[in-house]
């Protein structure tokens, strides 16, 4: 992208230069908005993924009336506004807070739909009222997470790949951070019935979509949500691809090991069911692992 200085000529700009400057401004705005959206999405995933693996939250979506669910969502939006004005973000103007809360709500809603469809917790097989209720319930944590992106991601750290240590050191560091972060989010989910239940509910397209979503989430949280000003914002086909694939593979192996450890996978378990459970558990492990790598 050309800096504004470069396209500004000396003296009064002509029509072409003005158009170029306008286009540059629009591109900058879109770029900044896109970056903010991606960053909020990463934060929302870290904040909200645990609730996706809570059966009671699905039931709330089914059992509570739409008015109750809407009320909860409204309350969470009010909480966002309150936090934005007087809490963490501490903005001076209400307009900015409203815009941020609106963006967070939109991101939370889209993320809720994507995750629920991928995990087969919503979709054409469910009644419309149940779909809407579950989406509303899951939108709440994602909205809060997206709204608090500026607080959550800096808290986790601003990861820099400074190249200290050899490749083995870096690889082991990535693996350790992935395991530690993954356990932080994945352990509370592990002993519950949700993982096998979700694994059974997912058909083949859901399983493949979940693998893709896990990889994408990991990339978004660690790489895409970083500020452009931070050093080593490496391109996709470089180290980030290798690291994202590596950490997802670690999460899958960790999921298999943990499921075996708690007896969810035994020698009697059919291989496909074992792998389906591993893919299901690997999603929170990957999100946690990505957050762990940010914090490391």
């Amino acid at each position: 992208m050309l800096p504004a200085r470069a396209i500004c000529g000396q003296g009064r700009p002509d029509a072409a230069t003005t158009l170029l400057m306008l286009a540059h401004g629009v591109v900058c705005l879109v770029d900044a908005a896109w970056h903010r959206t991606v960053r909020s999405t990463g934060s929302a995933l870290v904040f909200g993924v645990a609730l996706l693996y809570t059966m009671e939250a699905w039931w709330d979506g089914l059992e509570l009336s739409l008015a109750q669910n809407g009320l909860f969502l409204g309350a969470s939006l009010l909480l966002c506004l309150f936090l934005g004005r007087y809490g963490f973000n501490d903005k001076d103007d209400w307009r900015g807070v409203f815009v941020e809360a609106g963006e967070a709500l939109l991101i939370g809603c889209v993320l809720s739909v994507v995750c629920l469809l991928t995990l087969a917790l919503a979709g054409p097989g469910y009644p419309m009222r149940a779909n809407v209720g579950t989406i509303l319930v899951m939108t709440i944590p994602f909205t809060l997470g997206a709204f608090l992106a500026d607080k959550i991601l800096p808290f986790l750290g601003s990861r820099m790949m400074n190249g200290n240590g050899g490749w083995l050191d870096q690889t082991l560091r990535d693996a350790a951070a992935t395991i530690a972060g993954g356990l932080f989010l994945g352990l509370p989910v592990l002993p519950t019935d949700e993982v096998p239940l979700m694994a059974i509910g997912m058909a083949y397209p859901h399983q493949m979509a979940l693998m893709a979503l896990s990889l994408l989430s990991s990339y978004i949280i660690v790489f895409a949500s970083r500020s452009r000003k931070e050093p080593n914002a490496a391109p996709l086909l470089g180290r980030p691809l290798a690291e994202t694939m590596f950490c997802y593979a670690v999460s899958l192996l960790l999921a298999l090991a943990l499921l075996g450890f708690v007896g969810r996978i035994t020698s009697q378990t059919p291989m496909s069911f074992a792998f389906a459970q591993a893919v299901t558990l690997a999603f929170p492990l990957t999100v946690g692992g990505a957050a762990g790598r940010l914090a490391a």
Binding site: W167, P196, L253, P270, M271, F273, V279
Partner: protein
């Protein structure tokens, strides 16, 4: 700064540069190796699920078999087996005495494909006269 003043010889610089290049080359090779190994792990999982998708097409098929009857107090141990290639979900087994009005409801959330589980049913009446099982479940 001249070479003499810096105290370094051109050959040292060359060796250092060569060392850095070799290290970078090793790093790249290791990165490719890690990427390949990671892809293999992911592909194995995805491949197994794909094979299951292509070959395992029988829907869930749940059967109940009485293993043992003890009592009184009467306990019937049953074996629940899913002979299908798909997992059974929301399994509900209603066991009623053939002679008498007593019945027991056994419910569990899932039974994986080709899996077998054992459960115990408790009755006040004598179940040796026979049991009638009604099985309900969903399975893809």
């Amino acid at each position: 700064m001249s070479e003499a003043a810096s105290g370094r010889k051109p050959r040292d610089d060359c060796e250092e540069e060569h060392g850095e290049n070799a290290e970078a080359s090793h790093g790249r090779a290791a990165q490719v190796l890690i990427l390949v190994l990671s892809c293999m792990v992911i592909a194995t999982v995805a491949g197994a699920l794909t094979v299951e998708r292509l070959h395992g097409k029988d829907p869930a098929h749940v059967e109940v078999r009485v293993v043992a009857v003890t009592g009184p107090p009467w306990t019937v141990e049953v074996e629940v087996h899913n002979g299908g290639d798909r997992a059974a979900q929301d399994v509900s087994i209603h066991a009623a005495l053939r002679h008498g009005n007593e019945s027991v409801l056994l419910q569990f959330q899932f039974l994986p494909a080709h899996d077998t589980q054992r459960h115990q049913l408790h009755f006040d009446g004598d179940p040796t006269g026979g049991l009638i099982f009604t099985i309900a479940y969903t399975g893809r």
